[in-house]
């Protein structure tokens, strides 16, 4: 019998199994969460503050010839999903954000970077069991062995749709000379923002934050050997909510640091999303192990259950209802808000645990608003940079608005009647308190003056801050 794995491996070589990515919430779920995040995160007001009168529905164009890889990836999706531009590369600003949310794992090598084990502080690790690996090989379900931890990936310069990429595109969306160039870069910034929402949103899925890589090898379709494998939980969510059915975002507190949205200690939603989902829910392969409780006394039972836990949290109550657990259908463990955490049953002295569709749908109904809430908070954080701009004695004065600024560079641009911008002056900035003067620049004729600061905020986080004023 020891030859089984070897035979499977031989078969897989004959099949030429190719690597396939480990993926996220399905596309429809990601796009739906990003849409809710945009609605709750003030994207419409942010875009209007930039001078885009259409807000969420402002048409923005990326010429397809400028970004063939982007358009090749978008071509894999149906236009009915709401983020596929027309042949000219034009669609609404909101749709570009959704495109980013859909495309964050378009490159298979990126998809493994959307995991973060909240307890072990590592990213994706493929299952190490020989049987799992052999089965995966045979079915063409080879996955990356390891991935970059999601919080690191979102902030990495190696990630073209990460925070550095966003800052770069957003800065160009203000500084570029022509309206067309600015629109193109703004669309690019929104794609990057959407992709970051995707990476963050993935951490709402408990299997991604509990090191449960085996959950992504479960069969999805009817045919057991058709290679249709992935997370049943995430498939259920896609079927149950789709894009449009994702519920409105919950209210999640603001953060100072980018990483704090992803991971960090705290209670409820004051910590990172990874900790919230990892410590509040089980996942399919991190349920408590079956345990012999038949001879355990009432006082011994808590210790037996504690030993069965694969992860320290969530912690079942000290005394589970063993009487109802002996029913054939078992009973349900719920959290303080009534959300199903798992079912359990005592049969012939063995306590066993499982998740069914109804329990997972119950969990998803609790997870989706919170995950979208974190995303909305991140979106507000990305657009937090504001400047107050005024004209005093012919000079444009720029002040920090809403928050203090750290080191960086201020540029003041003038915009003419055709919407063409040109730099009028720059100034190095060290540290500026909220409301304090960032700099003053003499400007020539023009319709308006636009100020852009690129640097870091008072917490040392990258920021682009923007403001504008009509010139007399």
């Amino acid at each position: 019998m020891k030859r089984w794995p070897a035979l499977f491996l031989v078969a897989s070589l004959a099949l030429g199994a190719r690597p396939a990515p480990a993926h996220a919430w399905e596309t429809s779920t990601h796009v739906g969460m990003a849409e809710q995040a945009a609605l709750a995160g003030g994207l419409d007001a942010w875009l209007r503050a930039l001078g885009l009168r259409g807000g969420l529905f402002e048409p923005l164009t990326i010429p397809p010839a400028d970004a063939p890889e982007l358009f090749a990836a978008l071509a894999n999706h149906s236009a009915i999903d709401g983020f596929v531009p027309d042949l000219r590369g034009q669609q609404a600003a909101l749709a570009w954000l959704l495109a980013g949310a859909a495309l964050a794992d378009a490159n298979p090598t990126w998809a493994a970077n959307h995991f973060y084990d909240a307890d072990r502080k590592v990213g994706w690790r493929a299952p190490t069991g020989l049987v799992d690996r052999a089965r995966a090989k045979v079915e063409g379900v080879a996955a990356a062995r390891a991935g970059v931890a999601a919080p690191d990936w979102a902030a990495s310069g190696d990630n073209p749709l990460g925070l550095p990429g966003f800052i770069d595109q957003y800065d160009k969306a203000i500084r570029a000379a022509t309206p067309g160039e600015r629109g193109r870069h703004l669309a690019g910034a929104l794609v990057a923002a959407g992709a970051m929402l995707h990476v963050l949103g993935d951490l709402g899925s408990p299997s991604r934050t509990r090191g449960d890589s085996a959950a992504f090898f479960d069969p999805l379709g009817d045919a057991a050997f058709a290679g249709d494998r992935g997370s049943r939980f995430e498939r259920l969510v896609a079927i149950g909510w789709g894009r449009l059915g994702v519920p409105a975002a919950a209210d999640v507190p603001a953060r100072t640091h980018f990483r704090d949205f992803f991971t960090g200690a705290g209670t409820g939603t004051t910590g990172g999303l990874a900790e919230w989902s990892a410590h509040r829910f089980f996942s399919e392969h991190t349920l408590p192990r079956a345990s012999e409780v038949g001879r355990a006394t009432r006082t011994q039972l808590p210790a037996v259950i504690a030993r069965s836990l694969v992860r320290p949290q969530p912690t079942p109550p000290r005394l589970l209802s063993m009487v109802v657990a002996t029913q054939p259908q078992g009973t349900t463990l719920r959290d303080a808000t009534g959300v199903c955490l798992a079912h359990y049953r005592k049969d012939r002295g063995v306590l066993s645990w499982w998740l069914d569709d109804s329990c997972e749908l119950d969990q998803a109904a609790a997870i989706l608003p919170v995950a979208a809430g974190y995303q909305a908070a991140l979106l507000r954080w990305l657009g937090r940079g504001q400047l107050a701009v005024s004209v005093v004695d012919g000079a444009v004065q720029v002040r920090a608005r809403g928050s203090a600024l750290g080191a960086g560079e201020l540029t003041v641009l003038t915009e003419d009647g055709r919407g063409v911008r040109a730099a009028a002056g720059t100034a190095k900035v060290t540290t500026v308190a909220d409301g304090a003067l960032v700099g003053a620049v003499q400007v020539g004729a023009g319709r308006s003056a636009v100020a852009v600061f690129r640097g870091v905020d008072a917490a040392g986080e990258p920021i682009v801050a923007v403001g504008a004023v009509e010139l007399p």
Partner: protein
């Protein structure tokens, strides 16, 4: 023996894995009255009707989209195939079955969008009202009842509902300005003032009314006129004679305004229309007009603040009297739908 059995098992596994990926099971039924799951590949057939009066909606955009995935450990999007057709004169649509599935991909989903200006769009997977899952879509003999667009409906929400892409954007482009305007208003879309019951032009005249008075033996395609969408103050209905020139068409345009505004609107029409003959034989005021082989009757119901323009081509209504009869009928319907108290207010 054991080794042979193991080898055989491996071969079975290998063959199964070599086979083309199996399409996923459809989440919809094959027919409305069946419990069997449909075939994602199709074909798809159905009929689109106006939810207000069950008349067929011709010329509606029917956008069909198949999605493919590839890979495993959760699928990655691997393409989409779209087909665009429109409903025929009887409201029917037919979408041929998907001919081929791209090699190496799995057919994962099928969705259908139906769009006609003046109506709320229809999706096979979701409902517009609450974005909840639609459970009544069927692969064959599907019945689609399009709800009429109401003034309180949100264009911003509707644009999110219908999705994107070039084909859809081409027909929904006019909604973008409305959506932008909505988002700039403090409290979303403007709602009708609430004076009187809801009225739409389609309630005021039926195909049977026209056939009875004109003896026309053909069929009509019905729906809102293409000039302006229904709003809180305006509603229209077009009865387009199939296979005939415009001179066989009938159209109803109705404005609901304050009494003063309604009088002003009526006066504008009186001074703007050609060949006006003031008759004042319907409602508070009425007139007949004639332009380019189109007979028109305009009347004002001053108490209700309603102005109606009824037009009928001379091929169908050679005499102005026929148009007046239809206009009388329309005014009767308005009175039935909106009875007044003695004080002139709403009941």
């Amino acid at each position: 023996m054991a080794v042979r059995r193991l080898c055989l098992s491996a071969v079975v596994v290998a063959v199964a894995a070599c086979a083309a990926p199996t399409p996923r099971t459809a989440t919809f039924r094959v027919r409305p009255d069946d419990v069997v799951a449909g075939d994602l590949r199709g074909p798809y057939t159905g009929r689109v009707v106006d939810g207000a009066n069950q008349t067929p909606v011709a010329g509606a955009l029917v956008y069909a989209s198949w999605s493919f995935t590839s890979g495993a450990v959760l699928p990655v999007a691997a393409g989409a195939h779209d087909e665009v057709v429109s409903t025929d004169a009887t409201g029917h649509y037919r979408i041929a079955a998907l001919a081929t599935i791209p090699p190496g991909t799995r057919l994962a989903d099928f969705r259908l969008l139906i769009y006609k200006r003046g109506f709320v769009a229809y999706r096979s997977d979701r409902r517009f009202a609450d974005f909840s899952a639609r459970r009544d879509f069927a692969q064959l003999d599907n019945i689609v009842e399009l709800d009429r667009w109401r003034p309180e409906d949100s264009h911003a929400r509707h644009l999110r509902f219908v999705g994107g892409g070039g084909v859809v954007a081409a027909v929904t482009g006019w909604e973008t300005d409305e959506a932008i305007a909505e988002l700039t208003r403090p409290q979303g879309p403007q709602v009708a003032a609430g004076r009187g019951p809801a009225l739409v032009a389609a309630q005021l005249l039926t195909e049977a009314d026209i056939v009875e008075r004109t003896k026309y033996d053909g069929r009509f395609e019905t729906g809102p006129l293409g000039d302006e969408p229904d709003t809180s103050t305006y509603s229209s209905q077009h009865y387009k004679a199939l296979g005939h020139e415009q001179t066989w068409d009938v159209a109803v345009r109705m404005w609901r305004l304050s009494p003063a505004e309604a009088l002003e609107r009526y006066d504008e029409l009186r001074s703007g229309l050609p060949g006006v003959e003031e008759r004042d034989d319907i409602a508070s005021k009425s007139l007949r007009a004639l332009e380019n082989d189109i007979n028109a009757v305009v009347f004002l119901d001053g108490q209700r603040g309603v102005v109606v323009v009824l037009t009928c081509g001379v091929a169908l209504c050679p005499k102005g009297d026929t148009v007046s009869e239809l206009a009388q009928l329309i005014h009767g319907r308005i009175r039935d739908l909106w009875p007044l108290t003695t004080a002139g207010g709403t009941p």
